[in-house]
């Protein structure tokens, strides 16, 4: 087995970095940055992920194909997310009017039929 041991010291440094990043993400959540919050949270999460993968999971010394497999998985998820949300984002109100929380002015013309009160 090719000796690829990473020293204990490195592990502890990485652990400290992960803790710091967790603190950053929790603190930054309380600051109102509008859409920036989600973006920052994702950036921090990705950096933590990269740290864990390269050091804790030894992908630093991993083969090219192992890295390729992981990147392919992440790209597939990104593709799924991008195209579904792009479909949602570009739905044209002329062909698609969601009831829930939609344009308040549009009262559904065909009222859902309330049950008829029983005849006394």
């Amino acid at each position: 087995m090719s000796q690829r041991a990473i020293s204990i010291r490195t592990y502890l440094i990485i652990f400290a970095a992960l803790m710091a990043l967790t603190a950053v993400t929790v603190v930054s959540a309380h600051v109102d940055l509008g859409r920036g919050n989600v973006v920052l949270a994702l950036i921090v999460a990705f950096t933590k992920a990269v740290l864990v993968i390269t050091y804790f999971m030894h992908l630093r010394y991993g083969t090219l194909i192992s890295r390729g497999v992981l990147v392919a998985g992440v790209l597939a998820v990104a593709l799924l997310m991008f195209l579904t949300i792009d479909d949602l984002r570009t739905r044209d109100t002329r062909t698609y009017l969601p009831f829930v929380g939609a344009l308040d002015g549009v009262r559904p013309p065909i009222a859902p039929v309330p049950p008829h009160p029983p005849l006394e």
Binding site: D92, R94, T95, Y96, L97, P98, F99, V100, A102, P108, P109, I110, A111, P112, V113, P114, P115, H116, P118, L119
Partner: protein, 337 residues
């Protein structure tokens, strides 16, 4: 026309011609490529068939130029298909402003249509020729799909939102209406007719009332027409296997109900059973009758009741409560799986 065998559907809307043009282009491309491949296979198989004496010397294992040609040319052809199809699709999906608006609600196994002027139809849609019609559709339960082959238009009716579809009938006549998205037990019976009429005739139909309330005979005939139109006949039939109780000779008779009560079938009972069928279900029948509240006007109710009163028992049929049905032909949609 409905019912006449033909190998090609009618072109009854303005967009049908354009879609058929794309279709023929695609058929032509497919025919050319398929026949070319098939011919090449047959010719090569025959000309280079295996024979003992011929020494086989494979001469070439790849020509980049040939590979590029049969990559780029098919790609260009598909690009033509894409742009042409996209252009027509965009016109299909942008309803014109002056379109006549009609509301359509898909409900498990029927199409409920309501014109802006208040006229309502079930499984039927009357439209004027020569004027764009925009259908605003939704569904009360599962996904249905409004499909008129003669107009070449289709759009799913999705619960929880409106989807819309537009067409402009170019030829008067009766055309099939199908539900194209699988929606359960009677998906194949959720069909109907789209009747394209000349604008004048359409106006007359739209404003014409369904028979005067005055003389009873027209009331009975109007009632019968409403009875057919609302689809009551599909359940309330003479034969014993029907899904709904037999109405012949029912008026002023004692009726045993599911919950043990027994009432006299007077006008109030008939009216209540039409508007709120769940309130008094006849013993031995599934509570599957949909409510018609909001679908039939007061005037229509009176005509229906007059019609039911006019139905005499066919013969001295024993009026005992019908035996409890052992095998429910229509699975009650209420019990959850």
């Amino acid at each position: 026309m409905i019912g006449r065998f033909s190998l090609f559907p009618e072109q009854a809307s303005t967009v049908a011609g354009q879609i058929d043009a794309i279709y023929f282009f695609l058929v032509a491309v497919s025919a050319v490529f398929s026949l070319a491949i098939a011919a090449a296979i047959v010719v090569f198989a025959v000309r280079f068939r295996r024979s003992k004496e011929r020494q086989v010397i494979p001469t070439w294992e790849g020509l980049l130029s040939l590979e590029l040609t049969w990559t780029i040319i098919p790609f260009l052809i598909t690009l033509v298909m894409f742009f042409w199809g996209a252009r027509v699709f965009i016109t299909l999906r942008t309803p014109p402003e002056n379109a006549l608006q009609v509301y359509v609600v898909g409900k498990q196994w029927m199409w409920k249509v309501q014109h802006v002027e208040g006229k309502r139809e079930i499984n039927e849609l009357h439209v004027p020729v020569g004027r764009p019609v925009k259908l605003v559709m939704t569904s009360e339960d599962v996904i249905h799909s409004f499909f008129v082959p003669a107009f070449r238009v289709k759009q799913d009716a999705v619960p929880g939102r409106y989807t819309s579809l537009w067409f402009e009938a170019s030829k008067a006549g009766e055309y099939h209406l199908f539900c194209a998205e699988y929606c359960g037990g009677q998906h194949s019976r959720m069909i109907g007719r789209v009747i394209a009429m000349e604008p004048a005739e359409f106006q007359r139909w739209l404003s014409g009332s369904t028979g005067t309330t005055g003389n009873p005979s027209s009331m009975v005939s109007a009632g019968q027409q409403l009875f057919e139109q609302l689809g009551c006949a599909t359940c309330h039939q003479e034969n014993s296997g029907a899904r709904g109780p037999n109405l012949a000779g029912l008026f002023n008779k004692q009726v045993a109900l599911l919950d043990g009560r027994s009432v006299v079938a007077d006008e109030a009972y008939l009216r209540e059973s039409i508007l709120n069928p769940q309130a008094a279900v006849v013993a031995g029948y599934q509570p599957i009758m949909p409510t018609f509240k909001g679908l039939v006007s007061e005037e229509g109710l009176l005509q229906l009741i007059t019609y039911i009163k006019s139905l005499q028992a066919a013969d001295a049929a024993p009026d005992a409560a019908p035996a409890v049905k052992t095998h429910a032909t229509l699975q009650g949609s209420e019990e959850q799986g």
